[in-house]
């Protein structure tokens, strides 16, 4: 599904990713943990195609395509979805119109006709329930005046609607209370399946109690310094990151 080889990237001339190797197969859930500034969100940004990042080395293959050659919109159309750490507020663009536009652009890319209004409403309703999204928010401007929890639920709602092959959750848990966390994680769990993969980026182990990963990677100073199973997350929770930092010095 996603193969990252020796990925180096910089922003404003400063190297942030210093050789990432990662393989995510169909249906797998991978978690990336790491201290602040280790490059977790940068990795998500590079994968989604944020323009201020420059890839200097390495390659990324996404389901047979050279990901780095694709525009951000084509990455989305090929089935990649980034749930933002800080979802953007756009006054004047209604949530529902935004979703419809996005869905139909992706369908058009795949050679499918625009979705019928009735079908779209049915799908919206079904996916809203998945994340217990307040229907009143659908006609409001995109994320404008939404609470932190509502914004994150909206990200998962979009993920559910657009049905990607790979969902990247960039610190979706940050700023969420335990109830909102449970709802967001519950939504993601319902979307899991043999065809869908997830890359869950988080600073805290807490989220991984709810979204149980197949693999946990620790990112430090732009590199994956350790890979393990879900037990690694627990170990990190207990010991912190310092022992890894020391380990990295010896590498």
């Amino acid at each position: 599904m996603l193969t990252i080889k020796n990925l180096h990237a910089e922003v404003d001339g400063k190297e942030i990713l210093k050789g990432i190797d990662l393989e995510i197969r169909k249906g797998e859930v991978h978690a990336i943990m790491g201290p602040n500034g280790s490059g977790k969100s940068s990795l998500a940004s590079v994968l989604a195609g944020r323009e201020n990042y420059t890839v200097t080395q390495g390659e990324v293959n996404f389901d047979g395509k050279d990901l780095l050659e694709l525009s951000p919109e084509d990455r989305a159309r090929e089935g990649m979805f980034l749930a933002f750490q800080y979802p953007v507020e756009i006054p004047g663009v209604s949530n529902i119109n935004f979703l419809k536009t996005a869905l139909n652009e992706i369908r058009a890319y795949k050679g499918l006709p625009a979705m019928e209004a009735k079908e779209f409403l049915k799908l919206t309703k079904e996916k809203q329930q998945l994340v217990e999204f307040n229907a009143n928010l659908m006609n409001r401007s995109l994320n404008e005046g939404f609470s932190g929890g509502e914004k994150k639920r909206n990200e998962i709602l979009q993920l559910a609607m657009l049905d990607p092959k790979l969902g990247i959750l960039d610190e979706t848990d940050s700023g969420l209370d335990i109830d909102a966390l449970r709802i967001v994680a519950g939504g993601v769990n319902k979307l899991r399946g043999p065809e869908k993969s997830f890359l869950v980026i988080t600073h805290y182990q807490r989220l991984l109690d709810y979204i149980v990963p197949d693999f946990v990677h620790v990112l430090y100073n732009g590199r994956i310094v350790k890979t393990g199973t879900k037990e690694l997350a627990l170990e990190l929770e207990e010991k912190g990151y310092d022992w890894l930092k020391e380990a990295e010095v010896h590498v």
């Binding site: 323009e51 951000p72 919109e73 663009v93 935004f98």
Partner: protein
């Protein structure tokens, strides 16, 4: 009569404008006074404060103009593209400023009088209000219009009349040679009358340049209400100086919307309202969407003469390519005009590094118990918003369109007729996608 508007024409006016207004014209005296006024005021140049960002003399000197152009035949098929889809409306079609009843669908005469202005000179409304608006007195182009206008539209809504459908006025211009045209309109809404009027343009002149110097006096008597939409969607060879001068009596409500769209090379709007009665409501809403080499200049003036009036002004601009725009918003609150609420806002979105905006609020407040505010912003697309939309599969062009629509939403959302709102949104889409 044929005359150039370049130096010989200007000189011609200065020399007295002999023969421009025939002595047998019922308005001979009025026109002679206006000519004299124009001679005193002169053509504005870049040293004239109100014209410092719009080089009108250069525009006038680009080519020689004839001063009159009779209506040329226009077919129904030529007219059809000017219709607003799904809009159920009455229709008044003017060709070069002359009303064409056979192309129009006018409402029944029991509620409203619609005629050529030239045929209304004996009407009481004409005698009371024509050329009486206080804001026209110091405007050289208004004086020129009064002196030289051939015709225009006279609308009189009778007391208590409520027009059941909007009236769509289509200004058609079709020329055989470059022409300087001066349509002149007078609209009167008598007490408690209400109507919606939509103006738009259909340019059928290809190579010939139309310089349209129009004046529209709008009168709202007590408790009258008027929604006035002016859609400036002209063709490339058009230049506009457009004066809309409204006056409002007690309890009247005037909602004015100006949409300056491509492709006229120059648009100058003087939109002004004199509040002569208390407890009035005034909305001045404008959207200017300019591309190419367009120059769009909006001068607005809200004149609070009496207490307890509310005015709310919002102008938003989206500028592409090398477009150039000017916004000057004047609010004058006279000493007697206590309890005035006057708000003004001008927001701009620059989508090109070569586009420019000059914006200046002019607030003159002589009363001490008022609420007034003004604000100005200029911005660009937020890269973060654009990336967010693209990361959801929305292409860069579609994303820009969504964001422009979002910016224009404050104005388009106020349009109270769904078909018109849809039409304007589509017009915006067309401009942005090109």
């Amino acid at each position: 009569m044929t005359s150039d508007i370049t130096t010989p024409f200007y000189q011609y006016i200065l020399d007295g404008g002999n023969g421009l207004t025939p002595k047998e014209d019922v308005l001979y005296g009025v026109r002679q006074d206006a000519l004299a006024r124009f001679r005193t005021l002169g053509l504005p140049d870049l040293k004239t404060e109100a014209w410092r960002y719009t080089n009108i003399q250069r525009v006038l000197k680009e080519q020689p103009f004839v001063l009159q152009q009779q209506a040329l035949p226009v077919t129904a098929a030529q007219l059809a593209p000017a219709f607003i889809p799904e809009l159920s409306c009455y229709r008044a079609v003017l060709v070069n400023g002359h009303l064409q009843p056979e192309l129009s669908e006018l409402p029944a005469a029991k509620d409203i009088t619609i005629s050529k202005l030239s045929e209304a000179t004996q009407q009481k409304g004409f005698k009371t209000f024509f050329d009486k608006h206080p804001h026209l007195a110091d405007q050289p182009f208004a004086a020129l219009n009064t002196a030289l206008f051939a015709d225009g539209l006279f609308i009189e809504l009778k007391a208590n009349a409520v027009l059941d459908k909007p009236l769509h006025i289509i200004h058609v211009y079709t020329l055989t040679q470059h022409a300087f045209l001066q349509p002149r309109h007078l609209w009167i809404a008598h007490p408690h009358a209400s109507a919606t009027v939509i103006e738009s343009t259909l340019g059928l002149h290809n190579d010939a340049v139309a310089f349209v110097n129009s004046v529209n006096e709008v009168v709202l008597e007590e408790n009258a209400e008027l929604w006035h939409y002016n859609i400036q969607n002209a063709v490339q060879n058009s230049r506009y100086v457009n004066q809309t001068a409204a006056r409002q009596e007690t309890y009247s409500r005037y909602h004015h919307y100006n949409f300056a769209l491509p492709q006229a090379t120059m648009i100058r709007n003087n939109t002004s309202v004199a509040l002569t009665g208390s407890y009035t409501e005034t909305d001045l809403h404008g959207l200017y969407l300019a591309n190419g080499n367009q120059h769009v200049d909006n001068h607005t003036f809200v004149d609070h003469l009496v207490p307890h009036c509310n005015s709310n002004e919002l102008y938003k601009g989206v500028l592409l390519d090398t477009a150039n725009s000017v916004f000057t918003g004047r609010i004058h609150v006279h000493q007697d005009a206590q309890k005035t609420n006057a708000f003004q806002q001008n927001n701009n979105l620059l989508l090109s590094e070569k586009a420019t905006i000059n914006s200046q609020p002019q607030l003159e407040i002589y009363a001490d118990d008022v609420k007034c505010s003004h604000g100005f912003t200029v911005g660009q697309f937020s890269d973060e918003s654009l990336f967010y939309l693209r990361s959801r599969g929305i292409g860069a062009e579609a994303a820009k369109h969504l964001l422009v629509n979002a910016f224009a939403f404050d104005i388009t959302d106020q349009v109270h007729i769904p078909a018109l709102q849809h039409y304007l949104t589509e017009e915006i889409r067309t401009v942005i996608s090109n």
